[in-house]
Symmetry: C2
Subunit: 213 residues, 2 copies
């Protein structure tokens, strides 16, 4: 089983690494980080680059496609080379997955039309512009399409996927290995739970990606 | 405020990226990934390399030192270049932090003697060999020393640190931005919660890092 993690300029690191850390431990699997060009790809904080070991063309038929989000998704969702690769990879994939605004890139490739899907809470509404049905859930399965909400939600998505692919015992084993027993000191991880003034300020500060022209 | 994230061969990616994703959003901060040599450093799954932009020598006085864990910690905790850098950086740091077996590297540098600390559950006992006092907590503060349990716990640690450094509203804002509202589909993230047979199998499979000779 081959897992391809797409990288593009200004992606969000945890979107990719959260699910990678867990899914990469699937027995008999190979994970490949891919980008338009092989080499370092810098994330949205600019202080970190991950290395894409292969070009898109070198990985045409992954079993699992994973698309992270980030501010760069705005450009990625209009990048024909990326969209073409996604359509090709999706044609034979077992699972096509995204985290955060990665779902907008999948939507940009036309893969989420008519499907239930999610995204970062700030961009959830944009999914509808592509004919998807946005839901407020943290992880959404619609057939082989799996979308997760903002940034950290990819970890939960990976556990769901591990369970479906390898069974509950495998997923629990990876959860124990990665000691995923969350104990956040605050309960502000969703717009429903965070203080209203913090939600309002973030809403104002975050420039949501524009819909395609 | 300068945050230095140490990389070494065979580190665990999420140990570094979990806290990076959140801490890197501290206002007026700069994050630098450092290693003995600048360039790509490959993690424990071998399918991913992160780029260290600077050498250890180039970052002698970070305000926050962050040491991830991973199978490579066994070599790192005996690597005098790494241990020397940690002692130097720690002499002027505001916070010295670790995730997972990163605490064993700090302990190897002599920084945790007499202090309460934690580590991945499988290696918790080894801390005592360095004169530290292991605790089963997920995030442990002892003065400026902050240690987190296995892999994913660095996210919780980062929220604690953000709260202490920038206040509750900042931490909550970053929690909302990263949508850290965990909803794992299983409750197997600690040896107390996971099914006993899974704990037993992992205990057998995982080769704990050896104590220093």
């Amino acid at each position: 089983m081959q897992i391809a993690v797409l990288l593009y300029d200004d992606f969000t690191a945890l979107d990719a690494i959260g699910p990678y850390e867990l899914l990469g431990r699937l027995p008999d699997s190979e994970t490949v980080f891919v980008a338009k060009e092989a080499g370092p790809v810098r994330g949205d904080q600019r202080s970190l680059a991950l290395v894409a070991d292969r070009t898109l063309a070198e990985v045409p038929r992954p079993d699992i496609v994973l698309v992270p989000g980030g501010p760069g998704s705005e450009a990625a969702m209009r990048d024909e080379a990326i969209l073409d690769w996604l359509r090709t990879a999706d044609a034979t994939s077992t699972w096509t997955a995204s985290v955060c605004t990665g779902s907008l890139v999948l939507a940009g490739a036309g893969l989420l039309a008519g499907r239930r899907a999610t995204s970062h809470w700030i961009t959830l509404g944009e999914l509808a512009e592509f004919g998807a049905e946005p839901t407020g859930e943290r992880v959404v399965f619609d057939g082989k399409y799996v979308t997760a909400a903002g940034v950290s939600s990819g970890i939960d998505m990976a556990l769901h996927l591990l369970g479906r692919i390898g069974g509950d015992a495998l997923a629990q084993s990876v959860q124990l290995l990665t000691e995923y027993d969350p104990q956040p000191p605050y309960d502000a991880g969703s717009p429903e739970k965070a203080p209203a003034e913090i939600v309002a300020r973030l809403r104002k500060e975050l420039t949501a990606p524009l819909p395609p022209s």
